[in-house]
């Protein structure tokens, strides 16, 4: 099985990784590297959400809430307890997993649209509780600070240490950290999509009756994907906090949720590489359209609606359809056996 899809995807991932490794050697521009660092972060968030949304079929809109949990937990662990940032980030990712499991237990018994609305509501509750909390928890020199940072959020909770290590070139350190994070997250996606969990979900989708009869418990598998993907989502939030050095309630912003949803939808829901393609494309377009920025929202809306209506499988799906036309289709599900209807 030289041409197995797993092997192919892993090779693609490693080649891309090596190419990206070389980028800082070719260009020293700070602007390019920090933009790419931010791209790594959103690509991770998009790829993990895609696992939940497109692969496991959980209609969760809690992705930015989980991202925010990772960011806030990092900031709070570093600020209140004084943990080193790398340790705080790892712990924060675990906290995110815990939170996601609680949300999962509450939501996964429900049907699709209920899950969407409930997760949206949960994110909104978190946001409102953070923003509306005005009681001072501590009073540092900068003034009153509520437990969750209130409307202003946290700042000055330390950094990753690259400033001491690399001096003015600290952002190169962030670039590589982000790159490694994306590589790990993408390898995890490949493992999920082609591994037993992905297989189980494909089985559930193509033949629910048969899969259930074989003892495939949908909810248990969904919980696994939800929890595991939350680890990388939380880590992305944590890294976002470390990279920018601030954490505020904007992490919950609905606009960001939509932007990332657009990335997934443009790239192709449920595909291995779609979210990364979509993230690259949308961030590039967003950057290019900065001059006409008051058209940004309309643009995102148009992209969301247009893509879903015209290309239900996204850009990755177009490529797929194209190669299918020439008689090969690497990701094709096995043809269902004839007459599997119980008699």
């Amino acid at each position: 099985m030289i041409r197995s899809p797993v092997r192919r995807d892993v090779v693609i991932a490693l080649v891309l990784f090596l190419l990206m490794l070389a980028v800082p050697l070719l260009t020293g521009t700070r602007y390019v590297l920090t933009q790419l660092t931010v791209f790594f972060i959103w690509a991770v968030v998009a790829s993990q959400w895609n696992l939940v949304l497109g692969v496991a079929g959980i209609f969760s809109l809690a992705q930015m809430a989980l991202f925010a949990v990772g960011a806030y937990a990092t900031a709070m662990l570093a600020y209140y307890i004084g943990l080193m940032l790398p340790a705080a980030m790892l712990l924060a990712a675990l906290v995110t997993v815990g939170v996601s499991l609680v949300i999962g237990f509450a939501c996964l018994r429900l049907k699709g649209p209920y899950v969407a609305l409930l997760t949206l509501a949960i994110g909104q509750v978190m946001y409102l509780l953070v923003v509306n909390d005005t009681a001072c928890f501590t009073t540092p020199a900068s003034g009153c600070l509520p437990l969750f940072g209130g409307a202003r959020g946290f700042s000055r909770f330390g950094d990753l240490g690259f400033r001491d290590l690399l001096g003015s070139k600290w952002y190169v350190g962030h670039y590589y950290t982000g790159l490694v994070l994306l590589l790990a997250a993408q390898l995890f996606c490949i493992a999920i999509i082609h591994g037993p969990l992905g297989l189980a979900f494909r089985g559930l989708r193509d033949n629910p009756g048969l899969a259930l009869a074989r003892g495939v418990s949908r909810m248990r598998y969904q919980l696994w994907v939800f929890g595991l993907s939350a680890f990388f989502t939380g880590l992305a939030g944590a890294f976002h906090a470390a990279h920018f050095g601030v954490v505020g309630p904007t992490a919950f912003a609905f606009a960001m949720l939509l932007f990332i949803l657009a990335m997934i939808v443009v790239g192709g829901l449920g595909t291995t590489w779609g979210p990364l393609i979509g993230a690259a494309l949308l961030m590039w377009a967003d950057e290019g359209l900065r001059e006409v920025s008051d058209w940004r929202e309309i643009g995102i809306g148009l992209v969301l609606a247009g893509c879903v209506i015209l290309f239900p499988k996204g850009l990755a799906g177009i490529r797929l359809r194209f190669s299918q036309g020439r008689g090969q289709r690497p990701d094709a599900p096995p043809a269902p056996p004839p007459h599997t209807k119980p008699v």
Binding site: Y114, N132, I298, G301
Partner: protein, 292 residues
């Protein structure tokens, strides 16, 4: 006693506002299995069109309200024709239409922002003054909202239960295939439902903006509340949605009084999450009944 009257007035008003926009959502979900996330945009559209018709065109209030409802139903119809119809019956309809209507809502709000600007404005379609009930002031505006909402509910209920169109809508919601086999043109029914829901949303948007002013994104919170009401009632359950709307309105008024306005929404959401965990199919069970 006065406190109770005060809470009753604001609770009934809130409930009336919610009920008008929620039954539209419930009808859409019941018939199409579609969550219309553009509802927030439709609310804003209604509010702004009414204001514009009175301010810029100098139209009288009833005509302005009708214009807003016409605009809302046009927008609703467009959502069906441009987004829902092409993907009807396709794979993953529920997910795709959800995302598509999010996009449409975003566009609608941005267009409003471009046309009317980001600054808050006052709704011109509003009654001033009020009447004293004992020690409590009952603003005419609240009475108007309540009366209009009640009239709308009665009209919609009558349509659903007594008319041929209403029977077709209910049949389509209960069993799409069977309705088609009876000769019901379901696409036309869907279009009608979306247009009706758009008109109701526009009306609700006028009511909301008459209380809290106009903003391009004024629809976001009310839309979430309307969905929450649908969820609590059981998605697609129209009479349950109307009842729940009033219950949630009252509850919100009580919470506002006890805990203050800034916590009302958060506490409400927590309660709803608890309800859903307790009864995943909504309070009124799983029978999807479109009828008032």
């Amino acid at each position: 006693m006065d406190v109770a009257t005060q809470i009753l007035i604001s609770g009934l008003t809130l409930g009336a506002v919610y009920a008008v926009s929620t039954i539209g959502l419930a009808l859409i979900f019941g018939a199409l299995n579609m969550l219309n996330m553009a509802q927030g945009g439709l609310l804003a559209l209604g509010g702004y069109i009414a204001m514009w018709a009175m301010q810029a065109m100098g139209w009288p209030a009833p005509l302005a309200a009708l214009a807003a409802m016409a605009a809302g139903s046009l927008a609703g119809g467009l959502i069906f024709v441009a987004a829902a119809r092409p993907m009807l019956g396709g794979e993953g309809f529920e997910t795709r239409i959800f995302i598509a209507t999010i996009g449409i809502g975003l566009m609608l709000e941005s267009v409003i922002l471009k046309l009317f600007g980001p600054q808050p404005q006052a709704q011109s379609l509003k009654l001033e003054g009020g009447i004293m009930l004992g020690q409590v002031n009952l603003p005419w505006q609240n009475a108007l909202i309540f009366g209009t909402a009640l009239l709308m509910l009665v009209l919609v209920a009558g349509m659903l239960n007594r008319s041929r169109l209403g029977r077709a809508i209910r049949a389509t919601s209960m069993n799409r295939d069977a309705a088609q086999l009876m000769g019901v043109p379901i696409r036309r029914i869907y279009l009608t439902i979306l247009m009706l829901s758009g008109a109701l949303a526009a009306l609700s948007g006028i009511m909301i903006s008459s209380m809290s002013g106009l903003l391009p994104n004024m629809g976001a919170d009310p839309m979430l509340k309307a969905f929450i009401i649908c969820v609590v009632a059981g998605l697609g359950n129209v009479p349950g949605a109307a009842l729940t709307a009033f219950a949630i309105g009252m509850l919100e008024a009580v919470i506002q009084y006890i805990f203050g306005v800034q916590y009302a929404f958060a506490i409400l959401l927590c309660l709803v999450i608890a309800v859903l965990i307790w009864r995943p199919q909504g309070v009124f069970g799983q029978k999807e009944v479109v009828r008032l």
